[in-house]
Structure formats: C-alpha cells, structure tokens
Symmetry: C2
Subunit: 357 residues, 2 copies
C-alpha cells in the first residue's frame, strides 16, 4: 500500500548545507520535517511536511512529566550513481510499533509512515551527503502531548521525523575501541523497558558513560542487572564474540534492544556458513575463552558505526586485549559487505535496501 | 538566603477558576508559571514569572530523544484562617538535586528555587482551593533543551514550575484499596534510576497499571526486579506494614523513591513511641504474618493521598484481606495528624510547614 502524497509547506529560504567534513553527528538538521498527530477519538491524522521548526507544547504535556515516547534511528545513503538507499526501514517501523506497545502508545500504520518518511527524504535528497562514510540520519519519534498530570497514558501524540546529515563514524579509518565492563550502573532489567527504544533508557546511561570516558574508555559493556554476569549490550550497540570459529551473541531476553544491524549480521554470517548462536554468554566465560586463546574477535553492531571492533575489555581491574587490538577478518568482512550493500557498491542478495525515488 | 523578587509578566485576562468539586487531579492550571534557564557557560539564569503558556522547543531537544528530565510534586494548603502552607518543600528541593545527580543534570540552588516557588504561589494564592481535602499541586520540573542528537548530557536546560488546583483524593471518605502484586513488569532495579523522580520511571508503569485496573485493582505492588520477592513500592507511594505492634517499611536500597511522606511518617511514629524498622520485607513474609494473624495494618504514603490504607493484596492467585478491609487505628491517626498539620488545623511540633506570605 502507498500513502497519499502529503501536504508540503516549503521553507522560504533554504539553509546553507555544511561541508561533509564538518558534519559530526546530530548537529545539523535539514530544511523540513514530517509531522502527524494522534488523538484518541480520531486516530492518526493531519500528516504534513513543514519547515523544520520548533515544537510547541503545553507545559503539562505528558512527555515532560512521565516520558511517554519512542523513537527510531536509521540512515539514507547516497550511491555512486546518485541513488538514495534506505537499509531495512520496514524493520524500524516494526520495532517502533513494538516500542509503542511497551509504552502504552497507539500503533502507527507501518507502511504508511514509511511512505511519508520516503516523501520527506525525497524532498530533502540534496541533503544526503556523498563522501565515504557519510549518510543522512533519520530520526522518527513519537511524543505524548496531552496536557494532563494524572498517571495514565496520554490521549494525544505527535509523530515527528527529522533528518540530520552525519559524518563518517571513522574519519581516520576503523579503530578497535576499549570497553569498560560496567559494574555500578545498569541499563535495563527483565520486566522493564530495555527492549524498547524509549528516551528513559538513554538518559539513564549518561553517568556510566561519562565516568568511562574520563577513564579513557569509548563505551561501557552492560551486564544483566540480576546476576551482574551475563552480557547484554555495549553502549548503544549489540555485541558479538567469535570463539573457536563460532559467533556468539546474547539472546534477546527482553532487556536487550533487538538491533536491526544485529539481525542482519546474524543472517549474513549464516549465509556465509559461519555458525551463529544466540545464547546467554557471561563475562567470566569471555575472559576464560581469552585465557584459552579461543576468543578470536569481538565486535559491536548498530546503525551508527555499523560494525565496531572491540580492542580491549577492562573488568574488575583486569584488561584483556582482543586479537592484538587488530580488526578481525570476520569484522572486516561484515563491515565491508554491510556498508557495500547500504551504499549500493555491491549486490544486495538479501533485498535489504529500498530506493527513495 | 532569599532570592531577589523575580520579574513578573502578568496575564491580560485571568482564567475562570473551576469549582472545588470539579477539580480532579492535574487537569486545571493557574494563570502563571515560573521559568528559568540553564546553559553550560553561564549556569542558571533568567528567572521569571510569565503567563501560563506553551513551551517551544527545537524538535532535536534532548528531552524528546533521551529523556533527560527530573520533576517534583508537592502541595500548598489553605488553612481555615486563610494562610497558605507548604509541607517540607525544602525536602522536595533536596530530592530534586539528588535526581539531577543521577540524571547527569546540573544542580539548582535549593533555597533560591524554593523562594521563586513561593513567589509564584503568592501571586496565585487565589487559586489555592479551600474545601476539605483540596490543595494546590505544585509541579517543578527540569527538561534538557539542547538541540543535539549525540548521546551526551544536554548543555541547556529549562526549569518550569506549574500549579494545578486539585480535588480531594477521597471525595467519599477514605476507602482501603485492593492491590495487585505485580509479577510481570518491574519498576526499577539497583544501578537504575528508581531513586530519582524522572519521567522514564513513570511511563514504564502504564502497562502494568492498566492491566491491574482492568482486573479491578487500584494499584500494583512492585517487587524487587532481582529476586521478585522483596517489596519496593505501591504505585507511586511508599508502603508500610504494621506487624505485632511494630511498623515495617522497605529500606531505601536505590531502586525505591525516598518519599517525603514516608520520611515524615517514620519520624511521627517514632515520636509516638511506635517502633519502626526500615528493612527488607518480602511478600511471602507478609503473607505469613497474615496467616499468623500478626498483620495488623498496611498503608501507603505519598503526597497525593497522604495515607492510603490497603484493604487487600492479591498475589499468585491468593487474596488476603487486611484488617477486615477497615482503616486501622495507626493509619487513621497518621492521616488525621499529617493532614491536620498540613492544613494548619493542629499544631506542628516538627516545624514541617512553611507559610507563603
Ligand atoms: C540500546 C541500543 N542497542 C542496540 C542498538 C543497535 O540497533 P540497530 O542495529 O537497529 O541500530 C541501538 C540503536 O541503534 C540501541 O539504542
Ligand atoms: C514512585 C514514587 N514513590 C513514592 C512517592 C511518594 O513520595 P512523596 O511522599 O514524597 O510524595 C512518589 C511521589 O509522590 C513516587 O513517585
């Protein structure tokens, strides 16, 4: 199905576009945004593309007090032959609805919102940067807007899509990163909101992240909150361990975000005949594998960096280096193949990309 | 110390005030609000009272994406001799700063913000309702406003105080409530944000609360996320158990919100010579005490209802009635004394109330 073409109110004067090497992440925004609203009586409606402009909300809006909100993150890539590709955007729409369910929010029509998203990108296509590693980051989000302080799901929502041209995650080429195993703070727990992409999960990590940064680590590794033993995620990415030729990643237990890169990596590895197992894996197990010389590679997966190799872990005062702090063969092959597919440089046998016309 | 008198921009036309019996909770807001802003370079500044009006934020503001925010909740009461009293507002300011710490947010000057809060209430004093059980609910909150999608604490914030006249929590007189012990969802876990008053903790409870409501319960009782055994809180209140003459309440472990009513109840009970212990208490222990006939009273504490007696629990298919679903003597005495102090009907030996001039 295809949504009707939305009403577009164009900006009077377009912004100057930043140079590709100035982009960074999430600092610049395009000229337009997509907005639609929900109210309990009539459902979702009033879809429109407007100039990128401030959101105006009653100070009592539920988002400000009880944080009812979900978001998504995906990218549009420019190919060498000037086409614009999205990577599995249907999966982001699906995950957004899963998040809505957990947050007591009304579902969206996935195909319809995806169509609106494409219309917005189509209008903003000149904003998709072209240098190696750059892309247009797409941030759909839904916020609860009803002005009511009672503790109950909002009866009104606003869905917004904004776009931000972003720079290469690896301006100096891929570098394996040092990771601290977090002991004090926790990210999520069973029965909580860990599997949903919702604001409250992210602010909760700032303290841990800034302590780790001060200590010289790029990210923290989150352990399960219950036994403080099983590996969950690394920063805002999923994590994989190559042990004796097999690739292991934590199973989705409800406290881990089901990454779309994670899912794609699993499918790709299997298509290559590399065994993958989704199971519980503990941090002491990882240290044991390292001790035995069986830990071959560790890498993280996520929309931001695609594949990010881990160079070292530090846990309870003991550091281990992974693969001599070099990028492993599987990590490299995954990175090249995934980014190759995303940017249209190589064939897409999985039919993961969609073109924005 | 006392803050300087803030700049006031008065509304042109005041709203019609609702009747006391129409109030409900958090539906009506007064004519004015307090606002001040923070930026990393200059700290907190620009305090002012303005008409109650929409907040305008960039769509990339951190609050919408990563939920960096804290809030407080307290009440102003009208006495029979037309004075306006606040109940331990310094404790709310203190807790707000504790919450800020957990959320990587800059601290406020507690005395200064309390002074601004009083200036706002003073201006809005005609909005403080006078019927039995009514009050003016005060909602200070801080939101992260920097337009940046990078995962890092915001460099800009807005502190807002809004006021809402609220009705009696017990229009038909106090009624003990039925509580469901929640097995599926969890509210908080050690290392998380449970001890902070932050938005993400609240939306996370909507699913559990709405299932419980459909099943005929008023609230859920939260167990600890780790062993699913120890009692944490009930809805958005703390909980107390009177067992063989002793009063027991869960100790503050980091996943429980340190209620100001909780703290006051503990001090008050001790002043009456009733022993109080803050310790771990498990749900099976509570069921055992009930079996033995030792469970005399259960009540919840919080700003909204002050004291709310529990009439029954339901856990894993077994219901128990507490004190024949009657209000216990201690619950009643606490309710009468606390509300008496809050509304200036009885003496305040603890010096808990502050008058707004
Ligand atoms: C907490 C968390 N884990 C993992 C991921 C990776 O998911 P994806 O591969 O869909 O980007 C993300 C988001 O990007 C995340 O926020
Ligand atoms: C989660 C939670 N627990 C307990 C309480 C009770 O705290 P207080 O007595 O300060 O109102 C509140 C807030 O009112 C709360 O939000």
């Amino acid at each position: 199905m295809s949504a009707t073409v939305v009403e577009v109110e164009k900006v009077e004067k377009m912004k100057n576009k930043p140079e590709d090497d100035q982009l960074g992440f999430g600092k610049y925004f395009t000229d337009h945004m997509f907005v639609m609203e929900y109210c309990d009586e009539t459902g979702w409606g009033n879809p429109r593309i407007s100039p990128y402009e401030p959101i105006t909300l009653d100070p009592a809006a539920v988002i400000f007090h009880y944080g009812q909100t979900v978001f998504e993150g995906l990218k549009a890539y420019r190919t060498n032959d000037e086409r614009i590709l999205l990577f599995r955007p249907d999966m982001n729409m699906k995950r957004m609805n899963k998040s809505c369910e957990r947050l007591s929010m009304p579902p969206i029509d996935e195909a319809e919102v995806l169509d609106y998203l494409k219309q917005l990108i189509s209008l903003e296509k000149d904003w998709v940067p072209s240098s190696e590693g750059t892309s247009l980051y797409i941030r759909p989000f839904i916020i609860a807007t009803e002005p009511f302080l009672g503790l109950a799901p909002s009866k009104q929502y606003k869905l917004v899509i904004i776009l931000s041209p972003v720079g290469s995650y690896y301006p100096q080429g891929i570098q394996p990163v040092d990771i601290k195993v977090e002991e004090q703070y926790t990210r999520a727990v069973r029965g909580g909101t860990g599997m949903a992409k919702t604001a409250g999960n992210y602010c909760a990590t700032f303290n841990a992240q800034s302590t780790a940064s001060k200590q010289g680590f790029s990210q923290v590794l989150w352990l399960d909150a219950i036994e403080k033993k099983y590996i969950e995620e690394v920063g805002t990415s999923n994590v994989f361990f190559k042990v004796n030729g097999e690739v292991i990643t934590p199973e989705l237990t409800g406290s881990i975000l089901p990454g779309i890169t994670r899912m794609s990596v699993i499918e790709m590895l299997r298509s290559w005949g590399i065994p993958v197992s989704e199971r519980k894996i503990s941090i002491d197990e990882v240290y044991e594998y390292h001790q035995e010389g069986a830990l071959e590679e560790v890498f993280c997966t996520g929309t931001a960096a695609v594949i990010s190799p881990v160079g070292a872990f530090e846990w309870r005062g003991t550091s281990i280096n992974i693969n001599d702090k070099q990028i492993g063969d599987v990590s490299r092959r995954l990175y090249d193949t995934l980014t190759g597919i995303q940017t249209g440089k190589i064939a897409d046998p999985f039919h993961w990309t969609t073109e924005v016309k």
